[in-house]
Amino acid sequence: MEDNLFEIAERTADKLGVGYFEIRISKAKTTSVLIQNDQLDELSNNVEMGIGVRAFKKGWGFSSANDLSKAEEVIKTAMKMAGLSRGPEKIYLGDPVRDSVSILGEKRLDDVDISEKLEVTGKAAELLRGENVKNRIASYGESIIETLYLNSLGSEIRTVTSRVRLRIASTAFEGGKTGEYWKSFGGTGGWELIERIELERWADFVSRKARELLRAKAPPSGKFEVIMDPELTGVFIHEAVGHAAEADAVKNGESIFAGRLGEKIGAEELNVVDDPTLPGKFGSYAYDDEGLPGKRVEIIKNGVLNEYLNDRETSTLLNLIPNGHGRAQSYAHQPLVRMSNTFVEAGTWEPEEIFEEVKYGLYMIGDKGGEVDVATGTFTFGAKEGYIVENGELKVHLRDVSLSGNLVEVLRSIKAIGRDVKIHFPGYCGKGQWVPVDDGGPHVLTEALVGGR
């Protein structure tokens, strides 16, 4: 079927004067389990196939269908639409790639029966039980995606990638107060990623934290010295630096990083990297959805803005070396410039030394979601919990803490970067489409506005 479709595509491209096209045909097998308290809230096991075709003439045309009998119509529609768009004049083409990559881990997910997945998820929910814990959630999700990527240059890339994630969450209630805590595990690979989780330990940790938050206090507000833990460092760097470094935002003049390559934007010690080649991480991949190999990108090097994340279109437009960051949620989505695994590299400080540096400030822990306006650099993030730090010691436990400020000011205010890098916070990044990512870093000391009530 593929050969036939490729021929149809070539003929149509000739007829309509389309210079470049790519076809993605994929088959996704997904399983998910969601257990809430002892109740199974979701259990699904599905197979989905579809085709997405993107064509370039003087702009992009894209069409997709989840019904392969519409494949021919999709090819023609995408190419016709490309003729109607007016975008960039040129895109990066490069050499054809023929490759086959399989990332399935040690123990294939589809060799494990769904009843076992249900059992592990159920056990996780059970282990979360504890005093005052009124709501327990364990959710398991896996995907095995086989994709055939073809383009008009002659590329033919077959990939099979499996990803898995387990999330546990507890909510404690007492006297009208609530405390919530959660943790996610997972990556690119097989069932071994689940087997390696120390479930007892983490379930106990999560429920204990939820309980402790019942007694936690509201944070003070104002500008403070803030120590971010590896998880919060990760979300901060993802939201504030990563999104602003996406070359589509740069191209559109929407990013505060536009036109600032080579400029010093942060502390000397600051190095920020996005690396899809890290083995086993949730955001890892061999090829992006434009058929380009994913490359490690040093976004900020020694405090200087060094490189943007780019794709076929933006690399040409901004005259950059292509680094393979064009990712799509599925065959039914057009690739956009996206992150993979984004993190702050290790600095020279021992975490204890960082704490000793703080006379009065806040220690903020964990990621509770955030947002950033890449045009102005204004951001806001929630942390799962916090502590007041006095003379290097943790004092009052805090809840509902959020952090805001201006990206550039906060980067410049970085005073210390720890040695203790952790990158194991698998999640999904939304930009009109969802893609799996990971992020992290070490403990980082900076200054920011803390909000609370």
Partner: protein, 438 residues
């Protein structure tokens, strides 16, 4: 029709098995045009279809779906087996499927002129929108404009073993405009709207104007001194707070104690008597409307909060039954998913005040609502744009955080404007309440 053939064939297989069943199917298409720097850079046209099957077996339920509507007996049989297996090993709460009731007639769900658009026509409408952008930008190079226009049609249908049968076409049009202004400092502005008919294309110009005006204000906006007290909240901010509050009314949250409320709280006063909130999927020509929900229960108007009093939760069939109540027709879904509780059109009741003369702080736009905690109600949102109005003089501000507690903020609403603004499927007046600005 292939569609009905597949659904009927699947129903035929299911009828021979001793199970309760429900088939939810969709067939749709969507076209969208993405504009960057006043040019259409990306155009796309997508086709999708599929069937979602729920099977009830010995008091349990399993769900699975297939994409496409053109399937042979074997592939349909595999779908049934998958759903049955999940029903057997799982123990998802299940209280049967709903039974047949009459669907209301909802006006303006479908506009044939959207359905009939071919891509040349759709493209030319998007082209006119871009043309407006170019005209409005004119020689002012400090602005960069972006946006999108999308059109969609879907036919959704449901059949179950209790005799429910429904099918309806729905159309949609969505437009947004984004303006960045650079000239020294940078500012940005955004405006969007959605519609069910093609008439909406005439509002494109207004959205561009709003985005550009907001970019002007945002460029001049500075952070202001914090304070606690009364502020005027514009509909976007009210929307953020109301949806945060509504998470407490979702039947599953109530059932699993993730809500501040329980069934015993119905009839109690929980918000300011100046606040009324209604969910109404039967509004004509509104993007949140439907005549039947994802389980085939009729869409119906319900008062959630009446002058501060809790009157109803948002329920689907399952959680309605688990709480001893009836479904409110709020099961939302697509063929890939099981029904989930959601809202149709949410309306905040209008008041009688003319707030046009308001003097003081106005908060227009906030972000960061997903960092808030719906159960405790504590929120801390970043002000994207606000104004200080003093002696008729309007000064924009941004970058502050507005924090408070949603139950207190909606509990101390002192004044409510008389004009409703529509933001997609949310309708609200401006309101005055107490918060803290940091």
């Amino acid at each position: 029709m292939i569609r009905m053939e597949a659904v009927e064939r699947l129903a035929g297989i299911l009828d021979k098995r001793n199970v309760e069943w429900e088939i939810y199917w969709e067939e749709g298409k969507s076209a969208s045009f993405r504009i960057e720097r006043e040019r259409i850079e990306r155009a796309q046209w997508k086709f999708y279809s599929g069937m979602g099957l729920r099977v009830g077996l010995n008091g349990r339920v399993g769900f699975s779906y297939v994409t496409g509507l053109d399937h042979d007996e074997k592939s349909l049989f595999e779908l049934v087996k998958r759903a049955e297996k999940l029903a057997r090993i799982g123990s998802r709460p299940f209280r049967g499927f709903p039974t047949r009731e009459k669907f209301p007639r909802v006006r303006g769900l479908y506009d044939k002129s959207i359905d009939d658009l071919d891509f040349d026509e759709a493209h030319s409408l998007a082209g006119e929108f871009v043309e407006r952008m170019r005209e409005m930008k004119g020689e002012r190079g400090e602005y960069t404009l972006a946006g999108a226009m999308s059109f969609g049609t879907v036919r959704a249908g449901i059949v179950n073993s209790n005799g429910i049968e429904g099918e309806e076409p729905r159309t949609g049009l969505a437009i947004w405009a984004y303006a960045v202004k650079k000239n020294g400092r940078s500012g940005s502005g955004y405006a969007s709207q959605s519609y069910t008919t093609l008439e909406g294309v005439h509002e494109g110009e207004e959205l561009i104007r709003r985005a550009m005006n907001e970019a002007d204000s945002s460029q001049r906006a500075e952070k202001i001194e914090g304070f606690s007290g009364e502020v005027l909240l514009e509909p976007q901010v009210v929307e953020a707070l109301v949806y945060l509050f509504l998470e407490n009314l979702y039947g599953d949250s109530v059932y699993y104690s993730r809500s501040r409320f329980s069934v015993g709280d119905l009839g109690k006063s929980v918000l300011s008597e100046n606040v009324s909130i209604i969910d109404d999927p039967t509004l004509g020509f509104s993007p949140g409307s439907y005549s039947f929900d994802g389980e085939g229960v009729p869409g119906r108007r319900k008062v959630l909060i009446s002058r501060g009093e809790l009157r109803s939760f948002l329920l689907d069939h399952t959680y309605g039954k688990l709480l001893g109540l009836d479904s409110t027709g709020n099961a939302l879904r697509d063929f890939r998913s099981i029904p989930r509780i959601g809202t149709g059109n949410v309306l905040v009741g209008r008041g009688s005040e003319n707030l046009g003369e308001w003097s003081g702080v106005v908060v227009s736009k906030v972000f960061g609502e997903h960092t808030a905690n719906p159960v405790t109600g504590d929120f801390s949102l970043t002000v994207e744009l606000g104004y200080v109005v003093e002696n008729g003089e309007v000064t924009p501000f941004s970058g502050n955080m507005v924090s408070g507690n949603v139950f207190e903020a909606l509990g101390s609403v002192s004044r409510v404007g008389k004009e409703l603004e529509r933001r997609g499927s949310f309708y609200s007046p401006r309101i005055v309440t107490e918060v803290r600005l940091v």
